[in-house]
């Protein structure tokens, strides 16, 4: 690489996203414990630590950890109730699972040397597909063919309706794509930019600027982590609402 040879810079912003086996160097089978496995497990443990061990006191006057757990619970519960209505609360555990997993995976990914599971298209794609398939099946089970009314805009002039139906249909099938790529893209971009700044920090005269840049991007990432988890969850709620109440 020409630039590397000249300046001694080593740009490997994407290396952090490589899935590697935890033990040895062998091939990756579906069951191989990898760094993805490790960080998913840590995400799981962190969530259990907060939501299960944090609340084991069952105190009327909550401890600090318990009030954080309650805040998360209250936030997602209110979101589900506000967006989907009372009948959507049946799916609250599912939404909470998604929210907690994404939130904790995002924040654990901010630790140096960690692996961001939510930066992987495979992971966010599965999450988005779960929502997409689940919501579509639920829509048909709950409303039958009436669910197709989602694509037939009754408030529009009759001539426009077929056109709108095509647009609605396309936008419906694009949902899982945008849903997953939004999350993975945001997490990946921030991490990659931090890596690039870190590489620049090797040059003495530019190092202060690079470090400042890292701090700035990191701060932005801290915000992006919760915002993306929130966005993913609230979109899940909106899709759920479409499935439960498909009227426009």
């Amino acid at each position: 690489m020409a630039t590397e040879a000249d300046t001694g810079l080593a740009f490997h912003p994407m290396e952090q996203f490589v899935v590697k086996p935890l033990f040895g160097d062998g091939p990756i089978y579906w069951y191989t414990p990898t760094n993805a496995t490790l960080w998913m497990g840590l995400t799981l443990l962190a969530i259990i630590a907060l939501l299960v061990f944090g609340t084991r006191g069952r105190a009327i006057i909550p401890s600090r950890v318990q009030s954080i757990a309650e805040m998360l619970y209250g936030m997602v519960h209110k979101m589900v109730e506000d967006v989907t209505g009372k009948d959507g609360l049946k799916y609250f555990p599912f939404v909470m699972t998604l929210f907690c997993f994404i939130l904790f995976a995002n924040y654990l990914g901010l630790l140096p040397k960690s692996f961001s599971t939510t930066s992987q298209i495979a992971v966010t794609g599965v999450l988005a597909l779960m929502v997409f398939v689940g919501v579509t099946v639920l829509g048909f089970v709950k409303n039958g063919t009436h669910f197709l009314g989602l694509f037939w805009v009754n408030s529009a002039p009759l001539a426009l309706r077929p056109v709108l139906a095509v647009i609605e249909l396309i936008s419906y099938f694009v949902r899982p794509v945008s849903h997953s790529i939004r999350l993975a893209g945001n997490v990946m971009a921030g991490h990659a930019v931090i890596k690039v700044f870190a590489a620049f920090a090797a040059i003495a005269w530019i190092a202060p600027l690079a470090v400042l840049g890292i701090v700035g991007v990191y701060a932005l990432e801290v915000m992006v982590c919760i915002i993306q988890a929130y966005v993913f969850t609230i979109l899940t709620c909106v899709y759920l609402k479409d499935a439960l109440h498909p009227s426009h």
Binding site: M1, A2, T3, F11, H12, M14, E15, F17, V18, V19, P21, D25, G26, P27, I28, Y29, W30, Y31, T32, T34, A36, T37, M40, G41, T43, L44, I47, I48, L51, V52, T55, R58, A59, I60, P62, Q66, A69, E70, Y73, G74, F92, P93, F94, M96, T97, C100, F101, T117, S119, Q120, I121, A122, V123, V126, L127, M130, A184, M188
Partner: protein
């Protein structure tokens, strides 16, 4: 672009050592830098990108299909465990804590309301008792006053009657004294007149003397 291609090649080559054959092919294609082959590699990677972006895509570890099965498997395991823990343990517990607290708060509020009502009732009862006591006292005072007044009246009446009786008696006695005094004066006058007539050698005619004395006394009176 060239450096990107090279970088992609090196990244792909790194994964090559422990990746599935499909990825090795992609790496080889990217390393060769041939547009058509690169596009083929990306196809193998399951992404629809045109030839120019092919190398860059190959440089994204996220698009390495060989790791997808592994990630998806572990993700599903994680999500299943997480869902189970949340729906069976964490969420019911937190929900119970929150509803308990809500119950405790509403209970306390209701109790406070009750106490407030009780205090209000007690105040009302106190006011009523005070008013009752006041009217009672007023009644008692009025009754006492009336009693005293009647007692006083009877006493005054009695005294009046006694005084008038005494006055009548005294008057009678005075009248008797006056009568007896008149009678005494008459008898003294008669005797004196009779003695005077006798002293002058007359014969004292009792009837004439009486008449004369009565006439004189009448005139004097």
């Amino acid at each position: 672009m060239f450096s990107l291609l090279q970088q992609a090649a090196s990244t792909a080559a790194e994964t090559d050592t422990h990746a599935a054959p499909a990825n090795a092919e992609a790496a080889a294609a990217a390393a060769a830098g041939q547009g058509a082959d690169a596009a083929h590699a990306v196809e193998a990677a399951g992404a629809a990108a045109h030839a120019g972006e092919a190398a860059q895509s190959a440089g994204m570890p996220q698009l390495d299909v060989s790791t997808f099965g592994n990630q998806i498997f572990w993700l599903l395991v994680t999500l299943a465990v997480l869902y189970w823990v949340l729906s069976k343990v964490a969420l019911p517990r937190i929900g119970a804590i929150i509803s308990d607290r809500q119950g405790a708060i509403t209970g306390d509020l209701m109790q406070a309301e009750e106490f407030k009502k009780k205090a209000k009732d007690a105040e009302a009862a106190y006011g009523k008792a005070l008013a009752d006591a006041r009217t009672e006292a007023g009644k008692i005072i009025a009754a006492q006053k009336a009693e005293i007044q009647t007692e006083l009246n009877t006493a005054i009446d009695k005294a009046d009657a006694e005084i008038s009786a005494r006055a009548g008696e005294s008057e009678k006695r005075i009248a008797a004294i006056r009568d007896s005094a008149t009678a005494d004066a008459r008898s003294v006058a008669r005797e004196v007149t009779a003695e005077l007539v006798r002293a002058f050698g007359g014969k004292a005619d009792e009837a004439a003397i009486d008449a004369a004395v009565d006439a004189r006394l009448k005139g004097a009176a």
